[in-house]
Amino acid sequence: MMEFLNHFGEVFSPVSFLLLLGGTIGGLILGATPGLSPTMAVALLIPFTFHLQPVQGLILLGAAYTSTVAGGAVSAILLKIPGAPANIATTLDGHTMAKQGQGARALQLSFLASAFGGIIGVMLLIFLTPVLAQWALAFGPSHLFWLAILGVTVIGTLDGSSVVKGLLSGCIGLWLATIGFDDILGAQRFVVHPALGGGVNIIAALIGLFAIPQVISMLAKGRQRQDVEVIAVQSHPIGAAIRELLQRTRALGIGTVTGSIVGLIPGIGGQIAGLVAYDQSKKFSTEPQKYGTGHSEGVIAAESANNAMVGPSLVPLLTLSIPGSPTAAVLLGGLLIHGIFPGSDLFDNHPEVAWTFINSMLIGQVLMLLFGLYIAGLAARVAMVPPSVMAAVVLGLAVFGAYSVQNSMGDVYVMAVLGIMMYVLERYGYSAAPLVLGLILGPIAEANFIQGSLIANATDGPVAYFLTGGLNIALICIVLASITYSIAMELRSRRRAREAVA
């Protein structure tokens, strides 16, 4: 249980620590930039990890993931533009505080709450992951097949506004994963262009699906000025902020617990964590009327929640290969390109990779707190970069990043086509997250489906093998429950919308 302590020293090796530091500072600045979501930042960073050792690459990606979520609070507070969807709730009170001349206090409380929530979240990751990884050893091909389907289904039904469109996105991802040569018989499948001969490269696809729609969205707005004003930050004693945080333990606790629970559920992102924590904190507050008027509890609850979500969102990823969030899905892509497969294999055969990565996220929280307070002003200035520059920069990075995966123009074409397709799909209510999950989990689902079919043919047949047994039935029930729940929620929201119109 305490094995993580044996690998603490590796985080402080010069290269690893420099990457952690660079990833944290870079992530804070990227996170503050509206339009650069944590998922896109991590996707664009993956090509830079090819030339690093697996553990070093993961440290960079983990640091970027953690700090982009926290960095998004800077633009939320100082510009009223959430750096990421996870920071939407932070704007409600954070920006009002900044307008009242309390910007420094809001930023300090935000980073302190983020660090507290983040540390608790990573501790959960440390203690839950090995237990679940051992439990995952009992999983056979049928269970792994259903788990992969569960990952796609849950994120498909919970992520978007329409259950059917979410599931369709997942199906498109699963289909894209089958393009190329079949692993067992070597037959070509759906290869309509030579660029698809080797299949859809996951990293090129991730870059395309997350970066290109953002570029096109920025271009679709035309020539626009950044007419936002950065609110100047006056100094505020950090000791006072710490004392205030200790007095607001209810908001801090609600935020941390909510974020941790939300993180553990695959498919629900930081946006939900922040908003649910804000709402719950308001309900349990003795001063609910102050929420929305620049109340520090709102900032504390939202920021502790969105960072507490980060660690637990990696639990299903590192144990069962089921990413808890779109960013975790991108991290899974980063793991796979280094030949590392999540699950018990990761902790049994690569403990130094797993534990150094997890430990670096713990140390990253402290670095994020230390540097976040100092570079908040700079980060807010970076957030003012005009969309024209941002679009051109992201496009350039996307093209170079996709090419550098395999030095192949085919990957660049795949990246661009998928990106353009995703932009159109997003405009019509289809979400990228289930598609990405389908693409990543597709090979896992297919391999276990084929393996399971072979076993089934030699034993009781496919129906008995895939549809009976306690664990199979439990997983199928969860799949059906998530679909039923989401349909019920969708119908309810439509009914309310109709009633509101009437």
């Binding site: 289909w175 271009l219 679009a391 170079f400 550098s404």
Partner: protein
């Protein structure tokens, strides 16, 4: 958004789903298409459901792509297509990146096109970005990119 605008995307998706299913059920060896058959069946059913909802007017109306967005997008999209599908390979990555970056910046930068200072700033930003990319990818990561013109 018009009814046609709502129907068109699910119709295209249903057509793709039908093509995937047709390939999956007709191509050989059948064993290689076992999993694609499974997912294409679900794909087609969901796509038909989405199409049916759109035809009956029960689909949630989404933002879609407005004509204004399309007209804003058109020049930049053209630059994107030429950059990715022709210039990057034919002119070389760095030359194409510099030209593409400068064009996008010039097309979408709200600065005054008549002011020499604005053009100088655009050129400076383009030069810095190209140099950063060259330093990162060519020097630091040793990524060999097509270099047809200049570098």
């Amino acid at each position: 958004m018009t009814r046609l605008g709502q129907i068109l995307p699910p119709a295209v998706i249903a057509a793709v789903g039908a093509w995937v299913a047709w390939i999956s059920y007709t191509q050989q060896p059948a064993d290689a298409f076992l999993f694609p058959r499974l997912i294409s069946t679900v794909f087609v059913l969901l796509a038909l459901w989405a199409l049916g909802q759109a035809i009956l007017g029960r689909a949630r109306v989404e933002a879609g792509i407005s004509w204004k967005a399309l007209s804003n997008l058109a020049p930049g999209f053209l630059v994107l297509l030429v950059y990715v599908f022709w210039a990057a390979k034919s002119l070389g990555f760095y030359t194409a990146t510099a030209i593409g970056f400068f064009l996008l910046l010039s097309l979408y930068d709200p600065g005054d096109h008549r002011a020499p200072r604005v053009w100088a700033r655009r050129l400076a930003i383009t030069a810095v970005f190209t140099l950063v990319m060259y330093g990162l990818f060519a020097q630091l990561l040793n990524v060999f990119t097509p270099r047809e013109v200049l570098f």
